[in-house]
């Protein structure tokens, strides 16, 4: 019990130095067994989302343990991207869109009216479907963009190198940090965007189909990266690709028509789902 509590407290505060990454290879229990003792990183209760009159997300309840990967799967239009965008309140930027419910990080509510979405987004980073580096900035400035624009003090050069290493891009760009971000390939641009999201040291990383615009080799690199990143970050990933969900995630949530149909350990969802609709989807009967 004591040991478990220690692990929990270590994991709920993400380590900040690169040394810890390599040292934290210790075995940890699977999410299913640690769920009762480790306080959840992210708690979603009765989350509803609308686009105007369109009720896009119905009463979603979900718990995400720290330092794990949760995959959201489901056919197009099922609400999985809407769910993701609610988690850092990007959803409400769309005119007419709104969300209700409870969303807690480390037990603190984040959807309340008195919560500043700007400060929330510094804790919950996001990587988008298409690589979207800032075209007017160099590779270096792209990674440091969040730090510079938010006037975060500190050694930016050191953070740039560390996050580019974390994003497995350092060796490919270290000799041309001043070059335009657009000179990189699509896969490199996406890893640059991951580095940019990591540079502001978020606790949670949201990924919206991060590999869907990439070729298989670049996709494999992103997936390797997710495996490494989950040692320090809590990751929620939306994907169309069920094999990808199976490869990278600890927990899988199946969305259909705006409902969270089923959530559970990835292995169970893919081999022994409780719901008929989940089974039909993961076995390819529809979707």
């Amino acid at each position: 019990m004591n040991v478990n509590q220690e692990i929990a407290s270590v994991k709920s505060t993400p380590p900040r130095s690169p040394e810890v990454v390599t040292e934290s290879h210790q075995q940890r229990p699977s999410p299913a067994t640690e769920a009762p003792v480790v306080p959840p990183k992210l708690t979603v209760e009765h989350l509803n989302a609308w686009y105007g009159q369109n009720h896009a997300l119905h009463d979603v309840n979900l718990v995400v343990p720290p330092c794990s990967v949760t995959a959201a799967i489901g056919p197009s239009g099922c609400g999985k991207s809407t769910f993701l965008r609610c988690l850092n309140r990007m959803h409400e930027l769309i005119p007419g869109a709104r969300a209700e419910g409870t969303l807690r990080i480390d037990g603190k509510d984040l959807l309340g009216r008195d919560v500043d979405p700007v400060s929330l987004r510094r804790r919950v980073g996001m990587v988008f479907q298409r690589p979207n580096p800032f075209p007017t900035m160099s590779i270096r400035d792209n990674v440091a963009a969040g730090l510079k624009l938010n006037r975060v003090p500190g050694d930016h050069a050191e953070i740039v190198e560390r996050t580019l290493r974390q994003a497995a891009l350092w060796d490919e760009v270290k000799d041309r940090l001043g070059a335009s971000a657009l000179s990189l390939s699509g896969g490199q641009q996406q890893r640059l965007c991951i580095a940019r999201a990591l540079a502001v040291q978020p606790e949670v990383l949201l990924m919206d189909e991060p590999a869907s615009a990439l070729d298989p080799i670049a996709t494999a690199k992103i997936e390797d990266l997710i495996h490494q990143l989950k040692e320090r970050y809590t990751i929620v990933i939306v994907t169309h690709n069920m094999q990808q969900a199976g490869r990278v995630s600890d927990q899988t949530a199946f969305f259909y028509m705006g409902d969270l149909v089923e959530v559970g350990p990835t292995e169970k969802i893919f081999t022994n789902p409780s719901e008929k609709r989940t089974e039909d989807y993961v076995t390819g009967k529809f979707g």
Binding site: R121, R130, F134, P135, G146, L149, V200
Partner: protein, 282 residues
């Protein structure tokens, strides 16, 4: 009859038809250029760019003061129009989806459709009548009124061209909205905004009507905004309506100078927007 040869014939036929309409459209442009160059080039000399105008019958002389006056008044107009026009464009692009944006956009459209002579009258009423004298300032105000609406609309268009993915990327980093506009969106659209500015300046430099009874004219050098000032366009007008043959020649030469100036500005705008497109994301 309906086989490949027929298809080929139809293809060639319509290629020739559409190609010849292009030629027809080019005739007025080519003849304009030819006329201005052939009539204006003989009078062109270095001194034409730097000398003051001379009285009828006296050889030599130039439009130096008119060139300076045009730059001076376009500069004054830009000082007034750039902040207002570009600022309004930024507002329209960033916050212009509400009723305020609709009103401003409609106003800009109406304003850009107002004939330039009417703009001149307005400047006359506002500035000349109150100051009781023609002045470069009045001319600058008139030109600024012409620049603002087109500047606002094209600035808006260029900012709206910036992919929304960049705005989302910045917001997702926890950057506030205003800083996202200022540091991410506007720098990305900057090439386009500079292009819009150059085009507006080129348009203002070619206007005659708003200057006729605001800046009037001046036979001497002037950089005092409260004094009447010469401009290329009004100088051409005065030379052209005169009954003197040698002033007519000077009108052609001044027209050539104006054409070169405006053409140069347009060329710069074109080059800049080309670079911008090469650098733009998908």
């Amino acid at each position: 009859m309906n086989g490949l040869p027929w298809r080929r014939f139809v293809n060639v036929f319509w290629t020739v038809v559409s190609g010849s309409t292009v030629l027809v459209a080019l005739v007025p442009l080519a003849s304009l250029l030819w006329l201005v160059v052939s009539r204006g080039a003989p009078g062109l000399s270095a001194s034409f760019f730097v000398s003051l105008p001379t009285p009828v019958g006296e050889p030599g002389g130039g439009v130096g003061n008119a060139i300076v006056g045009t730059f001076f008044m376009v500069g004054l107009a830009s000082l007034m129009a750039l902040p207002v026009g570009v600022g309004a464009g930024v507002f329209l692009a960033e916050k212009g989806d509400g009723p305020a944006g609709k009103v401003i956009r409609f106003t800009a459209e109406v304003l850009s459709g107002v004939p330039s002579i009417v703009v001149g009258i307005v400047a006359y009423g506002l500035i000349v009548a109150t100051m009781k004298r023609f002045s470069a300032l009045a001319g600058g105000v008139a030109l600024a009124l012409i620049m603002v609406p087109s500047l606002a609309r094209s600035t808006e268009d260029f900012i709206r061209l910036v992919p929304s993915a960049l705005r989302e990327a910045s917001l997702a980093l926890g950057v506030p909205g205003w800083k996202t506009s200022l540091r991410v969106i506007i720098p990305t659209a900057l090439g386009g905004i500079v292009t819009a500015v150059l085009l507006a300046v080129a348009r203002a430099a070619g206007e005659t009507a708003p200057l006729l009874f605001t800046a009037l004219n001046n036979q001497y050098w002037n950089l005092d905004p409260t004094q009447p000032t010469a401009s290329l366009t009004v100088q051409i007008y005065n030379y052209a309506i005169s009954p003197y043959e040698d002033w007519h020649d000077k009108a052609w030469t001044a027209a050539l100078v104006l054409l070169l100036l405006v053409g140069l500005l347009n060329l710069m705008a074109r080059l800049l927007s080309r670079n911008r497109l090469q650098g733009a994301p998908r």
